[in-house]
């Protein structure tokens, strides 16, 4: 049987805060994170409040319903290789515990961003929590 789950060599969580105002169509970029910027990403996870109540910075995490109203665009170089991908699909608990794999992408994190499709079930200053599995080159 082929191994369909990743083997985590290194893992880092990243927080993207929605900001003081939320609006349909608003995009928010990831912060610069050296480990992710230089590593090869092979798995992405997203978490809701059910999985992770409060972010390390003390912000409330987006609910599962709210997560369904956000998509993510992941950029390699200047190329939007993962475009407008629904965050719900990156949430393990919405996928019977399965994880989504990437093909060792070297992400340009500061050009990667989330997009709010609808403000329903979202609130200002909530955060989306991501987990990235990566390996050093």
């Amino acid at each position: 049987m082929e191994l369909i789950q990743p083997v985590t060599q290194r893992y880092i969580s990243l927080e993207v805060n929605l900001g003081a105002t939320i609006a349909q169509g608003k995009t928010i970029a990831f912060n610069y994170t050296p480990d992710v910027q230089t590593g090869l990403i092979y798995c992405v996870r997203a978490y809701s409040q059910t999985d992770w109540a409060l972010s390390p910075l003390g912000n409330t995490v987006v609910t599962t319903a709210g997560l369904a109203n956000i998509v993510v665009t992941l950029v390699v170089g200047d190329d939007e290789e993962i475009q407008q991908y629904p965050l719900t699909d990156f949430r393990p608990a919405s996928n019977s515990g399965f994880l989504r794999l990437l093909n060792n992408k070297k992400l340009n994190l500061v050009k990667s961003y989330i997009t709010i499709l609808s403000t329903a079930a979202l609130a200002a200053n909530q955060s989306v929590m991501f987990g990235f599995d990566y390996k050093n080159q």
């Binding site: 985590t8 893992y11 390390p56 019977s96 515990g97 399965f98």
Partner: protein, 140 residues
């Protein structure tokens, strides 16, 4: 040296407890693992959070784990313990899909779980906060 990548085969299972102490009963308090030299120079291949009635934090979303190696490098940087909560009978946590790792030479003494948003002290001093089942594999 890489571990033997057969994750369906347990080589050596250790049960590790993180215990509440008197000095760290605050939100965002860090709860360090005990010193576990049996993991020095070994590969960790699976980590599960156990589910028993005696444990304060098992499936709750109020804690994450940070694991470092003996060189001081952060290998796992804030992974929610709920992701590791492994109970095949539950449709939550990881749904029994055991999380797999390749972590070498983990320094548990400098690794910790961090709990928050508990609205006060967590458990009683001496109580098991979280219990992990950790598998190490034999190097090739």
């Amino acid at each position: 040296m890489r571990p033997v990548l057969n994750y369906r085969e347990y080589a050596r299972i250790e049960t590790v407890n993180v215990v509440t102490d008197r000095n760290n009963l605050t939100d965002f308090g860090k709860y360090y693992f005990p010193q576990l030299p049996q993991f020095y120079g070994k590969w960790i291949t699976t980590i599960a959070v156990n589910n028993t009635g005696l444990i304060v934090l098992d499936n709750q979303p109020q804690a994450y784990i940070v694991l470092k190696n003996r060189r001081g490098e952060v290998l796992i940087n804030k992974m929610p313990i709920r992701e590791l909560w492994n109970d095949p009978t539950q449709t939550t946590g990881n749904f029994g899909r055991l999380r797999m790792f390749e972590l070498y030479d983990v320094d548990f003494q400098n690794s910790y779980i961090q709990a928050y948003d508990m609205g006060g002290p967590i458990g009683a001093p001496g109580q098991v906060l979280t219990q992990f089942t950790i598998n190490t594999s034999t190097p090739k």
